[in-house]
């Protein structure tokens, strides 16, 4: 693997022990996966933030890095934490958990990581361009950056993304190379996708069906950025997919597809998939915002909730920056009037939901529906927003 003079120096300790350690890791990974050289990255997304996910070992690792003076050298955004950092007490989080979570956040802050605590960096000002190299480690953000934007990132693990952030580089392998970005299966969608839940269900089905391949979708009509956000998240959760193409919609969809194996997705598949994701139908808690709700999604919900009174709990997960706009527009007030809550910095998957007394969770997210049963030990009611609200307002 070719290294520039500067990279050699970094590897040999000219910029300190931590940089050398990170460089060593990246060079090694590059060698294992056949990289010819390093590429400079323009940003990083660090996952492994919730104390629930990384526990004591993760905290110890990050504490050590921060103490030894590690600093990121490209804009590095942070994944959701295990709780709302502002008002965690309102959500049944224990003092012990909160103390550990704050220690983790402090370690990232010391390293210069932006405390965005969101899985949607692309909605918060970290918008890469076509063909830019990144080291992102949140699977839903990875698939968004690769597919919707056409930027280039592998599915990084927490420590390798952090090492890339600290050195500003990653190995030139995998999805950084054009030849590895070609579709290898064709999915012909023979049904109209109307809601986020529909997109999410197709995403879930795709990940389950083709695992970690690169799908090319035909037959998808009008769609919003929010549709694609929830679509990719489900695909990356049920499978290991890091890149998809949609005919006429995504930037790298001008590809040879004639010889690809074709799989058809019908209205019946959609129906079957939607019912497969549910194992209860009377939610006592409804969660929206996996990935984190955009301001537009909060606005839509606000309109639907205006002047109504919920009989069930409804939590909307989003980033702090989107919430500020919701506050300014008076949406937060309307949402709270209806009995719902806006929760920042965290989500239903990485918060300690399993310690709370809810049995059936309603969601429109295929990713949430995938993780809630195992990681949070909850049953799931999967439906579109209107059906969820119907249950919540009953």
């Amino acid at each position: 693997m070719y290294l520039t003079k500067k990279e050699e120096e970094m590897l040999n300790g000219a910029e300190g022990g931590i940089v050398a350690k990170c460089m060593k890791l990246l060079v090694k990974l590059g060698e294992i996966y056949g990289a010819d050289k390093m590429v400079k990255i323009t940003s990083a997304q660090a996952s492994g933030v919730s104390y629930k996910s990384i526990g004591e070992p993760g905290l110890e690792f990050l504490r050590g890095f921060a103490k030894d003076g590690a600093k990121v050298r490209v804009p590095t955004y942070l994944n959701p934490a295990g709780m709302d950092l502002g008002n965690w007490r309102d959500f049944g989080i224990s003092e012990k958990f909160a103390k550990k979570q704050i220690e983790i956040i402090d370690a990232f802050k010391k390293m210069g990581v932006y405390l965005t605590c969101s899985c949607t960096p692309y909605l918060l000002g970290n918008l890469p361009r076509f063909k830019e190299h990144l080291a992102w480690s949140e699977s839903s953000a990875v698939i968004f950056a690769n597919s919707v934007i056409g930027a280039r990132t592998n599915r990084e693990g927490g420590p390798s993304a952090l090492a890339a952030a600290i050195t500003g580089r990653t190995g030139n392998y995998g999805l950084h190379l054009d030849e590895n970005r070609k579709p290898d299966s064709l999915i012909d969608v023979k049904t109209d996708l109307k809601t986020n839940a529909d997109f999410s269900a197709l995403g879930y089905w795709t990940g389950k069906t083709i695992k970690d391949r690169i799908p090319y979708f035909c037959g998808i009509g009008d769609c919003t950025t929010d549709n694609l956000k929830i679509f990719g998240a489900a695909m990356a959760a049920s499978g290991g997919i890091a890149l998809y193409h949609i005919h006429d919609k995504t930037p790298e969809a001008r590809q040879e597809i004639k010889n690809l194996e074709k799989i058809i997705f019908t209205a019946n598949d959609l129906k079957k998939c939607r019912s497969e994701l549910s194992d209860c139908d009377d939610p006592d808690l409804i969660v929206i915002g996996c990935p984190h709700a955009s301001f537009a999604e909060i606005e839509t919900l606000t309109k639907k909730l205006k002047g109504k009174k919920l009989t069930k709990e409804l939590w909307i997960f989003t980033s702090r920056s989107q919430k500020i706009w919701a506050d300014e527009m008076g949406y937060t007030g309307i949402i709270q009037e209806a009995g719902a809550k806006i929760v920042c910095d965290t989500c239903m998957v990485v918060s300690p939901l399993e310690e709370m007394d809810y049995k059936c969770i309603g969601t429109n997210s295929g990713k949430a529906a995938k993780y809630l049963p195992g990681f949070c030990k909850k049953k799931v009611y999967f439906a579109d927003i209107d059906s969820l609200l119907e249950k919540g307002l009953k």
Partner: protein
């Protein structure tokens, strides 16, 4: 006997072998304070990998596994070295950061040649296993 392998993480380690003939994920499956395997149904459940040469085919599961390998080392409960058939990123990341010698792609079938308790030396610099 010397077996050629690919170097993943540098350093030398020697100890008694402990072998597992199935993929292993460090997250949630090993106690990072003691090195004892806690995965339900794992053939090594209740046994410790501390100070052993830990041999298993490949990794599985969460990316947080890297953090667990690092914690094992910090707690003095890590294996002396790791030998895999194919080391994927999570194990490689953990071993490199924790400075635990690790090799993969051995040229011979190590599960045939090495039995639990055999004295094994791993040379992570040269990419060699000495039995």
């Amino acid at each position: 006997m010397r077996i050629k392998a690919r170097s993943i993480s540098e350093g030398r380690g020697e100890g008694k072998a402990i072998t597992l003939n199935e993929p292993f994920g460090f997250y949630g499956n090993v106690d990072s304070k003691t090195g004892i395997i806690i995965e339900k149904g794992n053939p090594l459940e209740g046994k410790s990998i501390k100070n052993r040469i830990f041999i298993f085919p490949n990794g599985k599961g969460s990316t947080v596994g890297s953090y667990v390998i690092y914690a094992l080392k910090k707690n003095g409960a890590a294996p002396k070295a790791i030998i895999n058939t194919e080391t994927e990123t999570i194990i490689a990341t953990g071993a490199i950061l924790a400075e635990i010698p690790c090799v993969d792609h051995p040229e011979k079938d190590i599960f045939q040649l090495i039995k639990d308790g055999d004295a094994v030396e791993v040379d992570g610099d040269a990419g060699e296993i000495i039995v």
